[in-house]
């Protein structure tokens, strides 16, 4: 799976995700990527793209839950993403990248690793695979 999220200086957000699915998946299987709110979601608060085991991500409504925790519980992007990855998807099944309307960025996963990269206007940049 691949994905990208972005926010501009006006707080406009967007998310995109694309995938081939799982190796040896059944013909006709639908994963989390095209299920809006599971593997991909954006609203006025944040944009999220997820990756991992689609069935677990659908059950956990991973992308939408990040937005919901921000909207209804007032969590920061970092807090919301951390909660979802640690509590809403079984260990070893999910990762996500997300940005908020205020320019926060987070990349979290409960798998061994996740190919990832980010940058922000303040000059921060990161490329990684495994936990720091």
């Amino acid at each position: 799976t691949v994905g990208c999220v972005a926010v501009d200086t006006h707080g406009n957000l967007a998310a995109a995700t694309s995938t081939g699915g799982l190796v040896n998946k059944m013909v006709g299987r639908i994963g989390d990527t095209p299920i809006v709110g599971a593997g991909n979601y954006a609203n006025s608060l944040c944009a999220v793209s997820a990756t991992g085991k689609g069935e677990a991500i659908i059950r956990g409504t991973v992308a939408r839950d990040v937005a919901a925790l921000m909207e209804y519980k007032g969590l920061s992007l970092e807090e919301a993403a951390a909660y979802v990855i640690s509590e809403c998807a079984p260990r070893g099944t999910a990762g996500l990248v997300a940005v908020s309307a205020t320019g926060e960025v987070t990349m979290q996963f409960n798998t061994t690793g996740m190919f990832r990269a980010c940058a922000s206007e303040d000059g921060y940049s990161e490329i990684g695979i495994w936990p720091n």
Binding site: T1, V2, G3, C4, V5, A6, V7, D8, T9, N12, A14, A15, A16, T17, S18, T19, G20, G21, L22, V23, K25, M26, V27, G28, R29, T33, P34, I35, V36, N40, A42, N43, S44, A47, S49, T51, G52, K53, R91, G92, V97, V99, A101, T102, G103, E104, V105, T111, T112, M114, F115, R116, A117, C118, A119, S120, D122, I127, I129, W130
Partner: protein, 186 residues
């Protein structure tokens, strides 16, 4: 408040011993795609354009599981999926079951912008792709030798694999049975 961008190329059981010849091309691709996205944001392109642009680049890279390099179904075919969403309007578009579309993410955007619907799949999505004139190729374009081998290994172990999960042999499976019978992770 300023612009920000994040991207991923998949998660899974990526071994810490991943050899440089497999790690470095992916890191280079991440760096390249990040630079493309940053440049687009710096030139004030809308975030919707930016995420589509970056994901197209990732789809075109055979080192990642999307577009060219997509993993294979049990029949040895590709069935690609994509989704795009605009935060301000909550407009979104999704596709699945694609076999010939070079950049599924762009077709997802066309579903969002050119139809009254959110999600098109399989034959309908392929027909829409032709109607819209997006680039298509023979399905063999997406299949890499590495993914043929991965499918073979997964079939031998009778398992499904998420991105980068290392193959588990039949012998290993006997030693580490899974709770739900379909986990190939960790």
């Amino acid at each position: 408040m300023g612009w920000a961008i994040a991207l991923h190329g998949g998660a899974g059981d990526i071994p810490l011993s991943l050899p440089p010849e497999r790690r470095e091309p992916r890191e280079a691709a991440l760096r390249h795609c990040l630079q493309i996205g940053v440049a687009a944001l710096q030139t004030k392109r809308p975030p919707l354009d930016v995420v589509e642009l970056v994901v197209r680049e990732l789809e075109n890279n055979p080192n990642f599981n999307a577009g060219r390099g997509s993993v294979l179904t049990t029949d040895g075919t590709v069935e690609m999926e994509a989704c795009i969403m605009d935060g301000n309007t909550k407009k979104c578009g999704a596709v699945s079951g694609l076999t010939t579309v070079v950049n599924p993410i762009s077709l997802a955007r066309l579903v969002m912008e050119k139809t009254p619907h959110i999600y098109l799949a399989f034959d309908g999505a392929e027909a829409f792709a032709r109607e819209q004139g997006v680039e298509t190729v023979d399905a063999s374009h997406f299949i890499t030798p590495e993914n043929i081998e991965r499918l073979k290994q997964a079939k031998e172990a009778n398992r499904v694999q998420i991105d980068y999960t290392q193959p588990i042999t039949k012998d290993m499976k006997k030693e580490t049975p899974t709770a739900d019978g379909d986990s190939q992770i960790g």
